[in-house]
């Protein structure tokens, strides 16, 4: 079954800062949507709202054509944070956390964890203390932890920011392997080449507003907005 996620007129302000201003998007399962935008543009804020961790000030979110609130969007989405967070548990404990909540039997859990670790090239890391891992290793555990849950909406906030080129390539492959008609993958990145490689659609957020949303070819070769053209060429100044 294909899924659909629609945002209409999402606004979010933090005191004086307008993090998101009237964001509307229509996203379909089977696609990777890449969010581009300068620091502070509002990418993480949008991710947090889509993860149900934050309520928008106004606007609606519809999942499969039904309006949802933060609580119900949380049931179908999983966010991998920009800065990885680990429980004070073993790698196994971290990976098993969400599966246990979902009542997956223990034998099944360890099997799936072994596979997930394999996918991020961390086989045999089960017993290591998650908090003692290197930054990049933690990020890969965080990704594996989210991959395991097979959510309909997979939110990845700069998933390869801390990774060496080799690991980044592995993770890109792992993300692509997660593409499915029952899953929308939304990914923020600052890496334009990565956006070009992975995106089915690129969304450029600038000062909390969407200034461009198009397929990668159009986005890079033929941007409609002036801001996006400057952004691509690294000429954007504030």
């Amino acid at each position: 079954m294909s899924v659909r996620l629609q945002l209409t007129d999402i606004k979010k302000t933090y005191r004086a800062v307008t993090a998101l201003n009237s964001v509307s998007l229509d996203m379909m399962g089977g696609k990777i949507i890449v969010l581009l935008g300068a620091n502070g543009a509002g990418k993480s804020t949008l991710m947090r709202i889509l993860a149900g961790l934050e309520d928008p000030d106004s606007g609606t979110i519809q999942f499969n054509n039904q309006t949802t609130d933060a609580k119900s969007i949380r049931r179908v989405s999983t966010l991998v944070f920009q800065k990885s967070v680990m429980f004070s548990l073993s790698v196994y404990g971290n990976l098993a956390y969400g599966l246990k909540i979902r009542g997956v039997p223990e034998g099944e859990i360890s099997k799936r964890i072994a596979e997930a670790l394999e996918a991020v090239r961390l086989s045999g890391f089960e017993k290591r203390r998650a908090k003692k891992l290197s930054g990049g290793e933690q990020q890969r555990v965080a990704l594996a932890r989210a991959f395991l849950l097979n959510s309909n909406v997979l939110l990845l906030d700069e998933p390869t920011a801390n990774l060496d080129p080799n690991s980044a390539a592995i993770i890109e492959k792992a993300i692509l392997a997660k593409k499915s008609s029952s899953r929308i993958i939304i990914m923020a990145t600052h890496n334009l080449n990565q956006a070009r490689r992975m995106a089915d659609e690129i969304v450029h957020i600038h000062n909390g507003e969407i200034v461009e949303a198009s397929a990668p070819e159009d986005f890079f070769e033929n941007p409609k907005s002036e801001v996006t053209r400057k952004f691509i060429n690294g000429e954007l100044d504030f």
């Binding site: 947090r48 949380r74 999983t78 966010l79 967070v85 956390y97 246990k100 203390r129 932890r145």
Partner: protein, 248 residues
């Protein structure tokens, strides 16, 4: 001083090695009231702390302030209050708690409530909001999220319980007023020290003091040993502190 300490040390060693039943009984009674007091306090202090630490509401800072202030409550004041309540004419006289170990334990429990509440609430409150977000995005319910946050701060909670136990252990006001220091029944280490000092047997008083100090020090050592092992080995951590609440 020295002419008291040396014989006192000898007497302490004698007391311990001679197997004097009253000494062992006194140590046992002290551990009993301190342990029961701390456990009792947990029954209500941990829920209060979870509420104060993890939920936001108006006027929360006032309540936290009150608990902070109550940490310094003089034990004699609390002891006197309980003495009046527990005495035959008192409102709680019917419970027959005056001059009993359980009466002391209840007093100790009240005494350490602010300690457990304040320390635990602060630990939970400062637990990374990122951990809460992580638990929630992985599908944890509100209740489960709270369990996870408690587990993540369990070490601070253990330390607050240790501090509470020590406070009960070395406290005199409640033990003497509520307990009455009845020989063979409600006399604990601190009240033994007080009584023998009053009787002028300084070296016996000192001997009890040394036993008290020794137990406190040993307890502190055990706690830091566990902390060290915990930092090195997950397995032990899991074994000791967390059977299965919220994770592995």
């Amino acid at each position: 001083m020295a002419d008291i300490i040396v014989p006192a040390l000898q007497q302490a060693i004698n007391l311990i090695t001679s197997g004097d039943p009253e000494v062992y009984a006194t140590v046992y009674r002290t551990i009993y009231v301190a342990g029961l007091g701390t456990l009792l306090a947990c029954l209500w202090s941990i829920p209060i702390a979870v509420f104060l630490g993890l939920y936001n509401f108006r006027g929360k800072w006032v309540i936290k302030g009150i608990f902070n202030a109550l940490m310094g409550i003089p034990t004699v004041a609390l002891g006197l209050l309980l003495f009046l309540l527990f005495s035959r004419q008192g409102e709680l006289g019917f419970m027959n708690l005056l001059f009993t170990l359980n009466g002391i334990a209840i007093g100790e429990a009240i005494l350490v409530t602010p300690i457990i509440v304040s320390f635990t609430a602060n630990a939970l409150g400062s637990a990374d909001s990122q951990l809460r977000d992580l638990a929630r995005t992985l599908g944890a319910s509100g209740f489960r999220t709270n369990l996870t946050l408690i587990r993540e701060t369990i070490w601070s909670i253990v330390l607050s319980l240790t501090a509470s136990f020590n406070r009960c252990f070395g406290e005199l006001g409640i033990a003497s007023l509520v307990g009455g220091s009845i020989l063979g029944e409600t006399r604990v280490l601190t009240t033994s020290i007080a009584i023998w000092t009053n009787f002028g047997d300084f070296s016996l008083a000192m001997a009890y003091g040394i036993i008290l100090m020794a137990i406190v020090v040993v307890l502190a050592l055990i706690v830091s040993l566990i902390e060290r092992l915990r930092n090195e080995d997950m397995g032990l951590n899991r074994l000791i502190f967390w059977g299965g609440l919220g994770g592995r």
